[in-house]
């Protein structure tokens, strides 16, 4: 069952995977993906995300557990019978075939008639705006063009599920952003279910309906991008997604959905208890740089504030990035918008900072 209660299209049920019989690269994976959903598996390298994708595609077998596709277990179905489209990191366009032949390949192996093939190929190429390139060879195309063709090839046989393994990893930033946009649009237009693997968190946040953050063979958090960013469930997710300030401390008071944390230097701050439940527990609080407020007047009267010393001021165009010393730590960052009324801080200056208690999350230590 997915979060919204419909029948899962793809389901991982207690899946484990080990290559050598000693170490589990995937530990007890439970993941349900709804029909038409765009799900991204995000995580550092070695976190098990690509292994999950390969198990879904059929190139790796699960050591334990079951994977179902549209309700049917697929553990024993060979890859070519799964009908899953796949886009590879290095595109994997067949170099000895033209673009047209590459696209024709999945249709030919399905025994489709020539006339029918031609129509589908043309439609698929037009879909990625590559209709004029049908007779080119992959080597004659740029990286971005090759990726479009790879996408068209994965879609031409109209699979219901498409897997993408870091498809934009080799492209430059600008091209990557354009293609991110195109891929999401296409996936939603066609209503296909997409599982996308990346280690680029921006990509994950901008493209996905939901993101599964992988680390150490487990899903650390599975949530929509905004939830993931604003409400990380543990310190790994908080660190991995976006920029983040962390402070160490002990829970000194819990009252309902609020708590107070005493930092190592004795100062007290307000936070939302996420992974803490009792007074005296060690915790790591996390606060986004852009949620830090240095204008006391914008904060409620009863919130705690801290005194900070400005160490470094960096002008970045649209924002200012200022590094502070807070509670004995030198790496506290705040970001402020480059607005007409915004003051530029000077190193050595002493300021008062605070935040809305709900923006600060007390996580596992």
């Amino acid at each position: 069952m997915t979060s919204d209660g419909t029948q899962a299209f793809v389901a991982f049920d207690r899946v484990q995977k080990s290559y050598d019989g000693e170490v589990l690269v995937v530990k007890d994976l439970n993941l349900h993906i709804g029909r038409g959903e765009f799900l991204t598996m995000l995580g550092p390298s070695g976190s098990g995300k690509t292994t999950c994708l390969m198990m879904l595609a059929g190139f790796e077998t699960a050591t334990h557990g079951e994977i179902t596709l549209d309700g049917k277990p697929i553990n024993n179905i060979p890859p070519h019978k799964r009908g899953i489209g796949m886009v590879f990191q290095n595109y994997a366009l067949f170099p000895h075939m033209t673009v047209g032949e590459n696209l024709s390949f999945p249709l030919e192996v399905r025994g489709m008639a020539k006339s029918e093939r031609e129509g589908k190929i043309k439609r698929a190429l037009d879909m990625v705006q590559m209709g004029d390139f049908i007779n080119r060879r992959p080597a004659q195309l740029s990286g971005g063009q090759q990726q479009r063709i790879a996408l068209a090839r994965a879609l031409v046989f109209e699979p219901e599920l498409v897997l993408m393994d870091e498809p934009l990893g080799a492209l430059d930033k600008q091209l990557r952003e354009t293609l991110q946009f195109e891929i999401t649009n296409l996936a939603h237009e066609l209503g296909i279910t997409t599982v996308y693997v990346t280690h680029d968190q921006t990509e994950a946040l901008t493209m996905s309906d939901r993101v599964a953050v992988f680390d150490d063979g487990r899903i650390q958090q599975l949530a929509a991008p905004d939830t993931l960013y604003e409400e990380p469930q543990n310190s790994f997710v908080a660190q991995f997604i976006g920029e983040n300030n962390t402070l160490q401390g002990t829970v000194s008071k819990i009252s309902g959905d609020m708590c107070e944390v005493t930092l190592t230097d004795g100062s007290i701050i307000d936070a939302v208890p996420v992974n803490v439940s009792a007074v005296g527990e060690k915790t790591q609080v996390s606060i986004r740089p852009e949620r830090v407020e240095m204008n006391r007047e914008r904060l409620a009267d009863d919130v705690h504030t801290l005194t900070a010393e400005v160490l470094e001021f960096v002008y970045m165009g649209d924002i200012y990035r200022t590094r502070l010393r807070v509670a004995g730590k030198d790496d506290f960052i705040i970001k402020t918008r480059n607005a007409p009324d915004q003051r530029r801080l000077r190193p050595g200056e002493s300021i008062e900072i605070g935040w809305r208690p709900q923006d600060c999350r007390a996580l596992d230590a």
């Binding site: 595609a57 059929g58 190139f59 060979p78 890859p79 070519h80 019978k81 799964r82 009908g83 899953i84 489209g85 796949m86 590879f88 990191q89 290095n90 994997a92 067949f94 170099p95 000895h96 390949f105 999945p106 192996v109 399905r110 090839r153 994965a154 046989f157 897997l163």
Partner: protein
């Protein structure tokens, strides 16, 4: 951008055309590169290319006939190839043969012409012994007419240029002295005699280191004198020995003796055989296609080019066999090498390196040792036959003939050449990312289809490189077919080696080698047209 829109050539900053400026900048670099390869280039040119070119040149070179029998070749031009040649031809042959016999060249020519017509060698040897006597009957009659003709000084005075005679007649002349020079006056009066005498004089000088003034001429010179006097007029001559000559001219019509033709026929009847003459005429050109014709089982006859008699046709068969067996070996190598290379390229690096060493292991031992090992394994009382008999697959009295035939050559050479197939295949397969096959499978292709349509086409450059290597190595292989090929499993290269070292027919060996080289180049061209040489990768 602005440079490209200018009219005329693009200029460098100092105003010189960019192209010239660039080539000047690169000249030093090119020169340095040339210097680096120069030693190897020279080494190859001197020790490898030049001898090969010289060797190949021998396949058409045929100066031996025109050099040994120069006068005969000239006279033969007027021969109609039907019937016995004229007396003039035999006379020319007598002069040529006399000199050749003295210089001991005639046997060499005899063996050369024997390649074309058997029997010429012994004919020449025999004639070399008998040619001394040709013209003796005339010499005797001249001696009887006037004893002065017996004196070597008479001849020297008659034929030699006056200052040469004077110099050579001095007492202190040692050895041959000055090179003989002919008297100008005598040349018009006695053309054949002066030619024959000059041949005599110079031969005596160079071969025996003797002074012609002190040597009596050969009998053939008397023959020439007789022929000159019986046809020509000497009355206008007033040089030395004019009286003697006039006396002889008057007496000559009464002389009797064997004509040159009769004299040669007396030595050996074969000199009346037109086939011998046809052979000499056919090979009188300084360049000949004869070796090439022989190399493809043809021969040059007076009636034109004909096929060799069936029992002598051997080379086309050998060429066909060489090509066929090389192809069979190449095919075997592909069939055996492809799966191994595939396995190697898909194993983890550590394992594949270890296995690769096993592939290369044969290179650590000598080719001869490996071939000899096959002899031990394959012979009728060898390991494999013993094993088959022991298992019961083969009866003891029907042991398989695995060696000294084509099968033996194919087995041994496939083994020896297999690494040359595996290595290029391996290095090409190594570069095919596994994601291609994965992609094909994810697109719905079965394992076999993914291999056939995606993996195999990408490994073709490796197959191409391996095939070229193995085929070209196989087509020129010599040692292995020689050792395990027996009678039916030898290659054209074995025949070439035979002609180089045993029969000493280097011209034919060169022609066979040239044809083999041309064949390889033609096959290479065909291969380029079919597979495309761009599709060949060694890694």
């Amino acid at each position: 951008m602005s440079d490209a829109t200018q009219d005329g050539p693009v200029l460098a900053a100092d105003g010189t055309p960019l192209k010239r400026s660039l080539s000047r900048a690169l000249r030093a670099q090119k020169l340095r590169a040339l210097m680096l390869i120069a030693p190897l280039l020279l080494f190859i040119l001197i020790t490898f290319i030049a001898p090969i070119v010289d060797m190949l040149f021998r396949s058409v070179e045929n100066q031996i006939v025109s050099e040994t029998l120069p006068r005969t070749v000239v006279e033969l031009e007027g021969w109609d190839a039907e019937g016995v040649p004229s007396e003039d031809v035999y006379a020319a042959l007598a002069y040529d043969f006399m000199e050749a016999a003295e210089r001991r060249n005639h046997t060499r020519l005899g063996s050369r012409l024997n390649y074309e017509t058997t029997g010429i060698s012994s004919l020449f040897r025999q004639s070399g012994r008998g040619v001394d006597d040709i013209g003796e009957d005339y010499a005797d009659q001249f001696h009887d007419l006037n004893p002065a003709w017996e004196e070597s000084e008479t001849w020297a005075a008659l034929m030699g240029a006056p200052d040469w005679v004077e110099a050579q007649s001095a007492d202190d002349v040692e050895g041959a002295g000055l090179l003989f020079r002919l008297s100008v006056a005598i040349q018009d009066v006695l053309p054949e005699t002066s030619d024959a005498y000059r041949s005599f004089a110079r031969t005596v000088q160079s071969e025996d280191n003797d002074n012609p003034v002190a040597e009596e001429p050969w009998n053939t010179v008397y023959l020439a004198l007789y022929r000159d006097l019986s046809t020509g007029e000497v009355s206008g001559y007033d040089g030395p020995m004019a009286d003697l000559l006039a006396e002889a001219a008057a007496a000559v019509p009464d002389f009797e003796g064997m004509t040159p033709r009769e004299a040669f026929a007396d030595i050996n009847d074969d000199w009346l055989d037109t086939e011998v003459w046809a052979t000499i005429e056919a090979f009188s050109d300084p360049y000949t296609a004869g070796y090439f014709l022989s190399a493809i089982d043809l021969q040059l006859t007076p009636d034109g080019v004909e096929r060799q008699p069936p029992e002598q046709r051997v080379y086309l068969l050998l060429f066909n066999r060489t090509i066929f067996m090389s192809m069979a070996i190449t095919l075997m190598c592909v069939l055996l090498g492809y799966p191994i290379a595939y396995l190697l390229s898909n194993l983890p690096a550590r394992t594949s390196n270890l296995l690769l060493i096993l592939v290369l292991l044969p290179f650590w031992t000598s080719l001869l040792v490996r071939t000899s090992a096959w002899k031990v394994l394959l012979q009728q009382q060898g390991v494999i036959n013993d094993l088959l008999v022991w298992i019961g697959l083969v009866a003891d009295d029907a042991r398989l003939a695995l060696i000294n035939n084509q099968l033996g050559t194919i087995i041994a050479m496939t083994h020896i050449l297999l690494p040359f197939m595996i290595l290029p295949l391996f290095s090409v397969m190594k570069t095919i990312p596994p994601s291609y096959v994965r992609a094909a499978k994810s697109l719905g292709a079965t394992n076999f289809t993914a291999f056939r349509r995606v993996y195999f086409p990408q490994s073709i450059p490796g197959i191409g490189a391996g095939c070229i290597l193995v085929f070209i190595l196989a087509i020129g292989y010599y040692i292995t077919p020689e050792l395990v090929g027996g009678r039916t499993g030898t290659f054209i290269s074995n025949r070439i080696a035979y002609h180089i070292s045993s029969s000493l027919n280097w011209g034919l060996a060169a022609a066979l080698g040239t044809i083999l080289l041309a064949l390889v180049l033609v096959l290479y061209w065909v291969y380029d047209r079919i597979v495309g040489i761009d599709n060949v990768k060694l890694g």
